[in-house]
């Protein structure tokens, strides 16, 4: 065990530390998030051991840094120890039921106890039920305030397509001359308990974050489809444009010509849904008509693009951690 240069303490000068979750495990925890009874966030980082005792580094950090570790926005060396909010870290040597504490200035932390440049491999249980998006309001804070609403709409779309598959769509905006809000409120109201998303925290700073409670499975799908929108932007744009033109022609056509165009709508709708990652189009098989199915598909993709634009305009960063990637 390395010699530490610091001051011995009789106890850790933090009260009521309880574990929130393990952020990395292999044959036991290696990195864990703890919270004090005053609501401060701490990391317990495994750093050394011998035959009898183990040594942990304890440091106070911002919640945002923990979220960035979880979502692979920061590597471990970018947080430990540089993101420590204090000028010192605490080393806890644990043996049997006893422990000794040493307070060490950050500059005196041995090199061997500083992590290298790697992301944390977060277990699925640490990801489940939550997802964080990282925001940068820059000079347009009003724009970022709209992020949760659009995120919830896209989440509801993904839920509807992959999990709910409604037998009938109602509150269709273009039928009753009201805006899309009522339709998307209807889609969101259908989300079952256990999948319902909520906004748990919104730190409105630069940088900041929005932390959602949700089904991580659905949340991951939202993020993956944002990647898909970027990777297949050209073909999605082409199929969107084709379907949009077909719909416009259908709206103007009469009689047999209208029927002819209507017959072409389902395949164009399926083409768009498939390339946008929204399944094979069967989610819209219960639409009241091919026209309704086409309009819904266009609306879904427009909402997804709106969410994606937050990232391309530099207001949001989506996470890189996904369920099933754990050790």
């Amino acid at each position: 065990m390395l010699q530490l240069t610091g001051q011995s303490l009789t106890t850790l000068p933090v009260t009521g530390l309880t574990k929130v979750k393990d952020l990395e495990r292999h044959d036991g925890p290696l990195l864990s998030h703890f919270r004090s009874d005053r609501g401060s966030d701490y990391l317990y980082y495994w750093c050394d051991c011998d035959a009898k005792l183990a040594r942990w580094m304890v440091l106070r950090v911002e919640e945002q840094d923990i979220l960035r570790l979880i979502e692979r926005d920061r590597t471990l060396d970018e947080v430990i120890p540089s993101a420590c909010l204090d000028d010192v870290a605490y080393f806890v040597d644990v043996y049997n039921q006893r422990q000794t504490i040493t307070m060490v200035a950050l500059a005196d932390i041995p090199r061997e106890y500083r992590p290298g440049n790697e992301f944390v491999d977060v277990p699925d249980e640490a990801l489940a039920g939550e997802l964080a998006l990282f925001i940068n309001p820059k000079n347009d804070p009003g724009r970022v305030l709209g992020l949760p609403r659009i995120f919830f709409q896209v989440y509801a779309i993904i839920y509807a397509v992959f999990i709910d598959a409604p037998k009938k769509y109602t509150q269709i905006p273009w039928q009753h001359s009201f805006g899309g809000k009522r339709f998307y409120d209807w889609v969101q109201d259908r989300i079952a308990d256990g999948y319902k998303p909520g906004l748990e925290a919104f730190e409105f700073s630069s940088p900041g974050f929005a932390r959602f409670s949700l089904s991580r499975e659905v949340g991951d799908l939202v993020v993956r489809l944002m990647e898909n929108l970027e990777n297949k932007a050209r073909i999605i744009g082409s199929r969107y444009g084709r379907l949009e033109r077909l719909v416009a022609r259908f709206e103007k056509a009469k009689g047999d010509r209208g029927k002819e165009i209507e017959n072409a709508l389902p395949s164009a709708t399926t083409d768009l849904m498939q390339v946008a990652g929204l399944g094979d189009g069967t989610a819209l098989s219960h639409a009241a008509s091919p026209y309704e199915g086409a309009k819904l598909a266009l609306s879904f993709v427009r909402r997804m693009r709106k969410l994606r634009k937050f990232e391309t305009d530099g207001f949001v960063t989506f996470p890189q951690s996904f369920l099933g990637d754990d050790q």
Binding site: D27, P29, D48, V94, R114
Partner: protein, 146 residues
């Protein structure tokens, strides 16, 4: 008599070991030191200081972490040695290879990274059948061996 190696402790937890476990007959890989010692095959619950003060035991603290693929085990150990520079003191810096038989115990379903948990049966001795396969050496930031 229970078939499990740590039966008494397993009984303190719900659904432990999980009913989803399966018997396996396969090559497996575990992080070990050189020479391979009994301590490299102790579950977390029996490793001093392996959990933080005040942490509670869980069912998987009585299992052994393994991998079903050598390349995945190498990748995982390389990442661990990078993030926790002294981790070789705890779990070694070698990949050990062994063959798990159906009468050794039961395994969880591997994750995408190849990792799975292995719960041993009473009398199982994996240490004696494990061979060193490959050492992992991670250079530190200066390019020197860590």
């Amino acid at each position: 008599m229970s078939k499990w190696k740590y039966a008494k402790s397993l009984g303190d937890h719900d659904d432990c070991p999980p009913k989803s476990l399966r018997k396996v007959n396969m090559a497996a890989y575990r992080f070990v030191g050189n020479p391979i010692a009994e301590g490299h095959f102790l579950p977390t619950a029996h490793v001093p200081g392996a959990r933080q003060p005040g942490d509670v035991l869980r069912c998987t603290d009585y299992s052994l972490s393994m991998f079903n693929d050598k390349a995945k085990a190498l990748a995982a150990l390389t990442r661990l040695l990078t993030k926790y520079r002294q981790i070789a003191n705890r779990m070694g810096s070698w990949i050990g290879k062994l063959h798990i038989r159906e009468d050794d115990g039961e395994a969880s379903k591997p994750s995408r990274s190849g990792h799975f948990e292995f719960f041993e049966y009473e009398g199982c001795n994996l240490q004696s059948r494990t061979k060193l396969a490959q050492e992992v050496i991670v250079a530190d930031d200066d390019g020197d061996e860590a």
